[in-house]
Every structure is written in structure tokens, then in C-alpha cells.
């Protein structure tokens, strides 16, 4: 029944790991399912792989794990998906109904443990309910503000000896769940008037634009208005990274021109962004002179940290469509943007960009004999023509990738922004590669993160998943070290590996993959090309980079405003 329901949902892959409580389900998959199952080496990787698949395709990722440790191992991946609003359905086995609550073998209260990190959860009580629950779970996971849904399945209700007529419901009715379908037209009109009157506007685009498939609409609106666009870490790619209207990422490690523009703006149009603490720095000093228009599908995101002057609750695609329409009407009636003011604003922004922008000229030492991590990302960008799916783990490498890989398409940049989960990147790359086998998929990582899910090298051998792993090897937990340099006078408390790292080349070779060590600058581009030329092989590039490089810009915290930044180890602006 479960296997059939998953087929009826159009599921393409199941990421999972068998165990006692789910053996009936696994037997059904063996006997009758057409859906490929990817056997991971750790349940956390199953959730991240399903998550990577979901981010790359927009469809819900599906995970199947057993009870107890299987379920608890999946928790980090569920929390990761929850924080970034990723659609996912997690089927977890549970001990038989009559054993629940008796501390049975491999029993854990999965519905309870996952409660704060799921959009919703179900404990299925009767076998006959399975199809409806699965239908509901997919519906809830993928509509409104997406998120993970857990279905806990006691072993007895999956027993194949119990036969029921299978009815897959076409529609689901949930009396307490009605996500907004349109924005309020009066509010949208107000927003359009504000936008047309703006002197120093900024569009602040977030992950919601990617999730809501509204990139084209956002791009049209921005071009129509000739407004500068900045993006959150989660929204990169929604607006083309190489477009001159794009200011780069904003926030803690955002571009100077983006953070300055936000600080000095008079109108901020936030689209599918949630004013995260890593974006706004100090809330009381955020955008002091700006009127804020906030479009979000989740009413709870609006005015949570920063009060919105014009709140608009609705799906970004429909709101932006309405907005474009109203804008055209207003323009037809003779209302225009203030062209002179905008020209002045652009002049100012370009001045900032010329002085501090990361793309106008290198802001790191290009003459250093050591490989700089920024150069690695630039080489990756060149070799993949800026078209790869790039996943990342968490740390300095993540920020370098976000700053230097100029994403021109949505869903190409896949990282754990909200939860900041180390170990995310590699399994997520597997999910993306399975979804798009022809595309280049690279995981940008570091020695810390990669070792948190390195066991998946074995999964890639079994299913031949030829992702490229770009390891920015600096011998430290780089971001921790950076903070220790800046705030703890260089006391590297537990952030160094002291020569304990494996020889990654030999390690990946042991799994049957290709490993290439790069420690000379002159070898970088060639090695990168070689890695991507080996289409059918997993290649691990172990790139030894300058261990003392820091990520800049970096906002001054605590108590800094958007514009307060370190731009190098010694310069603060």
C-alpha cells in the first residue's frame, strides 16, 4: 500500500536504510516497486540527499528509515529541511502498536522528537488510512510554505497479511489548512505606489523566490523598475548573478555595496526573505530610513524581527504577477519611477562597487604563492561555465562559494542556510546528481564538513553517482578559526586537526573513486578541468589552500548596523 501510494505520488527516488520496523515496507519495495531506492550509509545522509533532490527539482524528497536510531539519525536532516522550508516526506518505522510506550527494542517517540522541526507529523493508526495519510503528507509538504512531514508507521499496520482495498484519494481536505493563494490587492497597490516614488530602492530577494519558482517574475520586475537587487544566501540564483543590477549577497558576509545600499535605502522590497539575524545584523539599527514592503507566504514571517510597513501575505509568484500588472497600469496612467533619483542612486552604488566590490577587482592577495580559496571557486565557476549545481557544507568554504560563484539560475546553489548543518553538502550533491545525471554537480566543502558524512563515498560507488568534491583543505575548522582570530586573540581552541587528517586521495581511491591533490597554484585550473572531464567518475579534489585566509567582508557584531563591516584583517569601514 505504501509502495503503491508513493508511485501514485510520482516519487522518483527513495533515500533510506532498512531495519526491523520497516522490513514489511522493504519487502513490498523489493517485490513490486518501480521506484529506485538509494541505500545510504547513515540516515542523516538519506535526509540530506532527499533534501538536495528537493532543492534541485522543487519536488518533495522522500526518506524511509527504521524506528529508534534510524529515526533519530534522520533528525538533523529533517531540522535542516525545516529551517530552509524544503518539501520532504519522511517515513519512519515504529514498533508495533501494542508495544508503543513499553520501551520496546528500537522504540523512540519519533512524532514527539520531531515535533518542533516538522511542518506536520502523523502517527498512522490503521492500515486503511495509509494512502490518505501519504496523500496529505505530500500535499502539506509541498504547498504553502513548504517543509518536512513525518509519517510514523507502526510495524503491525504495514503487515502484508492485512488486506485492504486500495483507494488513492485525488484530493485532500484539511479544514485547518488553507495556504494563501493571492496577495491582498490593496496592499499590492500600496506597494507599487511606494516603489514608484522610491529614490533609493533595493530589492532584497530571498529563498522564497527560489522555492516559489518566481525567479523570472522577480527578474522582470527588477528590470522594469531598474532597481538594484541583493539576495540572501538562500536566494542566490533567483536573480542572475552576472547581471549588472545584481549587488551580490547581503548580510554578515555580504557585499559592501549590498549592505550599504540596504542601510541607505528609502524603500526595501523584501520578497520571500525572512529578515534573518545573519542578514539584518542589529535589528534596531537595520535600514534606518527605509519603508519596508514584505512579501511572504507565511504570515508568521512578517514583522517577526523587523516591522513591515506594507505586509503582503501570499505566494511570491502570484503577488509579483499582480504587482507587475498594477505597475503597468500605473505606468500607462503616467506614473513613472523617479529616473533622475535612480540615476543618482546607481552612481552612488557603482562608486561603492568600484571601491569595495568583490567582482570589480580581486580583494585578496593574488600574488600569494599559496592557493587562495577564492581562486578555487573562481576556477570552478570558469570550468563549469557558471552552470553547475553547487552544494556546500558549512563554514568559510560556504561563504567563499556564495560570494564567488555567480549563480545565474535558481536551484543551482544548494546549501544549509538556516540550520547551518556541516555534513550536508556531499549527500545533497548526490540527490541533485541523481535528479540531473547530465549536469555538473560539485560539492564545495572543507575537511571538517566532509568528514561528517564521508561514508557516503561508498553509496556513490554502489550507485555510480559521479559528483565532484572540491575540498578546500586548510587544516583548520576555518570559520571557527576566523572567529578565534578575530575575537579570541588567536586561541585555536579545538579548531585544528594537528596532522590527524587522512590522505584523502588514498581514502577515496579505497572506495574506487578518483582523488587529486592540488597544492600548487599552477595546477589548479588543470586539475579542475580534469575533474569535470571525467564525467562518469566521482572525483575528489583535495586542494591545499592558504590556512590563514579570512572571509571578508564581515559585519561588525554585536551592535553593528548593516553598513559596519570589516573588509580585511585590518580595515574596518
Amino acid at each position: 500500500m505504501i509502495a503503491q501510494a508513493l508511485e501514485d505520488e510520482g516519487v522518483e527516488f527513495i533515500f533510506g536504510y532498512p531495519g526491523g520496523a520497516v522490513l514489511h515496507i522493504y519487502d513490498a519495495l523489493f517485490k513490486r516497486s518501480k521506484i529506485p531506492h538509494i541505500l545510504v550509509r547513515h540516515e542523516q545522509a538519506a535526509t540530506h540527499a532527499a533534501d538536495g533532490y528537493a532543492r534541485a527539482t522543487g519536488k518533495p524528497g522522500v526518506v524511509l528509515v527504521t524506528s529508534g536510531p534510524g529515526a533519530t539519525n534522520a533528525v538533523t536532516g529533517i531540522a535542516t529541511a525545516y529551517m530552509d522550508s524544503i518539501p520532504m516526506v519522511v517515513l519512519s518505522g515504529q514498533v508495533a502498536s501494542h508495544l508503543i510506550g513499553e520501551d520496546a527494542f528500537q522504540e523512540t517517540d519519533m512524532v514527539g522528537i520531531s515535533r518542533p522541526i516538522v511542518k506536520h507529523s502523523f502517527l498512522v493508526k490503521r492500515a486503511v488510512d495509509i494512502p490518505e495519510v501519504i496523500r496529505k503528507a505530500f500535499y502539506i509538504a509541498s504547498t504553502g510554505r513548504p517543509g518536512p512531514v513525518v509519517i510514523d508507521l507502526p510495524k503491525d499496520i504495514t503487515n502484508p497479511y492485512e488486506k485492504f482495498e486500495y483507494n488513492y484519494p485525488r484530493k485532500v481536505k484539511l479544514r485547518s489548512y488553507t495556504p494563501a493563494t493571492r496577495g491582498h490587492s490593496g496592499q499590492i497597490r500600496k506597494a507599487v505606489n511606494l516603489l514608484l516614488a522610491a529614490q533609493r530602492p533595493v530589492i532584497y530577494s530571498g529563498g522564497g523566490v527560489v522555492l516559489g519558482d518566481a525567479s523570472d517574475l522577480l527578474t522582470r520586475l527588477a528590470r522594469e523598475l531598474n532597481f538594484p537587487v541583493t539576495s540572501t544566501l538562500m536566494g542566490l540564483g533567483a536573480f542572475p548573478g552576472t547581471d549588472p543590477q545584481f549587488l551580490g549577497m547581503l548580510g554578515m558576509h555580504g557585499f559592501v555595496e549590498a549592505n550599504f545600499a540596504m542601510h541607505h535605502a528609502d524603500v526595501v522590497l523584501a520578497v520571500g526573505a525572512r529578515f534573518d539575524d545573519r542578514v539584518i545584523n542589529t535589528a534596531s539599527k537595520f535600514c534606518p530610513g527605509a519603508k519596508i514592503i514584505h512579501i511572504d507566504i507565511d504570515p508568521a514571517s512578517i514583522s517577526k524581527t523587523i516591522p513591515a510597513d506594507v505586509p503582503i501575505v501570499g505566494p511570491v509568484d502570484s503577488v509579483l504577477t499582480d504587482m507587475l500588472e498594477l505597475l503597468q497600469e500605473a505606468q500607462a496612467e503616467g506614473q513613472q519611477t523617479d529616473k533622475a533619483a535612480l540615476a543618482g542612486w546607481w552612481e552612488q552604488i557603482n562608486e561603492w562597487r568600484e571601491k569595495w566590490g568583490l567582482w570589480t577587482k580581486p580583494r585578496y592577495d593574488i600574488n600569494s604563492p599559496l592557493i587562495k580559496p577564492q581562486e578555487v571557486i573562481e576556477a570552478l565557476w570558469r570550468v563549469t561555465d557558471g552552470n553547475a549545481f553547487v552544494t556546500s557544507d558549512v563554514g568559510q568554504h560556504q561563504m567563499f562559494a556564495a560570494q564567488y560563484y555567480r549563480f545565474n539560475m535558481p536551484r543551482r546553489w544548494i546549501n544549509s542556510g538556516g540550520l547551518g548543518t556541516m555534513g550536508f553538502g556531499f549527500p545533497a550533491a548526490m540527490g541533485a546528481k541523481l535528479a540531473f545525471p547530465e549536469a555538473d554537480v560539485a560539492c564545495v566543502t572543507g575537511e571538517g564538513s566532509i568528514q561528517m558524512n564521508i561514508q557516503e563515498l561508498s553509496t556513490c560507488t554502489q550507485y555510480n553517482i559521479p559528483v565532484k568534491i572540491i575540498n578546500l583543505h586548510n587544516g583548520y575548522l576555518g570559520m571557527v578559526k576566523q572567529w578565534q582570530d578575530m575575537q579570541y586573540e588567536g586561541r585555536y581552541s579545538q579548531s585544528t586537526y594537528e596532522h590527524s587528517l587522512p590522505d584523502f586521495v588514498r581514502l577515496v581511491e579505497a572506495y574506487g573513486h578518483v582523488g587529486i591533490r592540488v597544492d600548487k597554484k599552477s595546477d589548479l585550473e588543470g586539475a579542475m578541468k580534469e575533474a569535470f572531464a571525467l564525467k562518469d567518475r566521482l572525483v575528489f579534489l583535495d586542494i591545499h589552500v592558504d590556512p590563514h585566509e579570512h572571509v571578508y567582508p564581515m559585519q561588525v557584531a554585536p551592535n553593528g548596523a548593516m553598513r559596519d563591516m570589516w573588509i580585511s584583517k585590518s580595515e574596518r569601514i
Binding site: V111, G112, R115, P116, K119, H120, S121, L123, I140, L174, R175, S176, Y177, D298, P299, A300, S303, K304, P307
Partner: protein
């Protein structure tokens, strides 16, 4: 400011824990809470009181509304409403005290619902303030046990919270 938030909740296992969990997860506090099934057995009515400024209350109601188990929600304190709380108090009642406590109970329109040689058990209903006032007038020394139901509330007039 103190608010009384009343919800219609799916009468299903786990629903209550999602509501309560939301409060601890997001650092909101619950002062009182009560919940019971309604005339429609698929729905429970849950009433809670909480403290917070307007922004916090707005967040609380938005997050409660997001829960799939919450079918309807009303902040009773936004309009005219009636609130009641039930309290059972066991007090030491000996000698002259017995008459004094009886008088005090009458003044607060309470009832003595159980009598022992040295104790009275008193039932009082009213607003939370009234119950506080009763406890104060009986005096801490006499009080042996206090059981309060938490606030229940309903809007005045035609307004109803139903599907």
C-alpha cells in the same frame, strides 16, 4: 498585557503537545491552560492565558494558526468577553475560624462543598482577580491546598467560535 486566547483544536492525539510545544520552543509563556472536548467530538476547545506585548501576541497567534491542528482561533481580550475560573480550596477551619471562613465564602459567593472536623473545602468561580482576592482574604496561613482550573472564556453577544 494579559491575553485570553481560545482555540478550536482537532481532538486528536498529539494536538495538545503541538500547542504546548510551540510555547516552550519559541520562548512564550502560558499562565493558564484548559482544554476539553466540545459538543462536536472531533473538536476540543482550548483556552490559554499569556502575557506579552502586541508584537509577541501577534507572533503567538500567527504561529498557533500555522499548526494544522488549530482549526480556529480567537483572542477573546480583543473584544467584550466573559471569563471564568473555577477554584477548589482546602482550608484549615477550627474554632472561631470556621464561622469567619463561612462568612468570607458567602461574601465571595462561594460554596463549602466538603466539611471535615478541621477543614473546609470551598468552591469558587469568577475572574482570576476575584479568586486571588478570596485567597488573600482567607490568608495564607489557613490555606492547605489550592486547585485552579485555569481561565475559560467566551465572547459576549452574538459572536461565537465555531466552524
Amino acid at each position: 498585557m494579559r491575553r485570553i486566547i481560545s482555540l478550536l483544536l482537532e481532538n486528536e492525539p498529539g494536538a495538545l503537545s503541538r500547542v504546548v510545544g510551540l510555547f516552550s520552543q519559541r520562548g512564550y509563556n502560558i499562565d493558564t491552560l484548559n482544554v476539553a472536548a466540545t459538543e462536536d467530538p472531533t473538536l476540543s476547545r482550548l483556552t490559554l492565558t499569556t502575557l506579552g506585548d502586541d508584537q509577541k501576541i501577534e507572533q503567538i497567534t500567527k504561529h498557533l494558526n500555522k499548526l494544522l491542528d488549530v482549526v480556529k482561533l480567537v483572542d477573546l481580550t480583543e473584544g467584550p468577553h466573559i471569563e471564568r475560573e473555577l477554584m477548589l480550596v482546602k482550608v484549615r477551619a477550627t474554632g472561631a475560624q470556621r464561622a469567619e471562613i463561612k462568612r468570607c465564602t458567602d461574601i465571595f459567593r462561594g460554596q463549602i462543598i466538603d466539611v471535615g472536623p478541621t477543614v473546609y473545602t470551598i468552591q469558587i468561580t469568577g475572574t482570576s482577580d476575584k479568586l486571588d482576592a478570596f485567597l488573600q482574604s482567607v490568608g495564607e496561613a489557613a490555606i492547605l491546598e489550592v486547585v485552579r482550573s485555569g481561565v475559560s472564556g467566551i465572547a459576549r453577544g452574538e459572536k461565537v467560535l465555531s466552524l
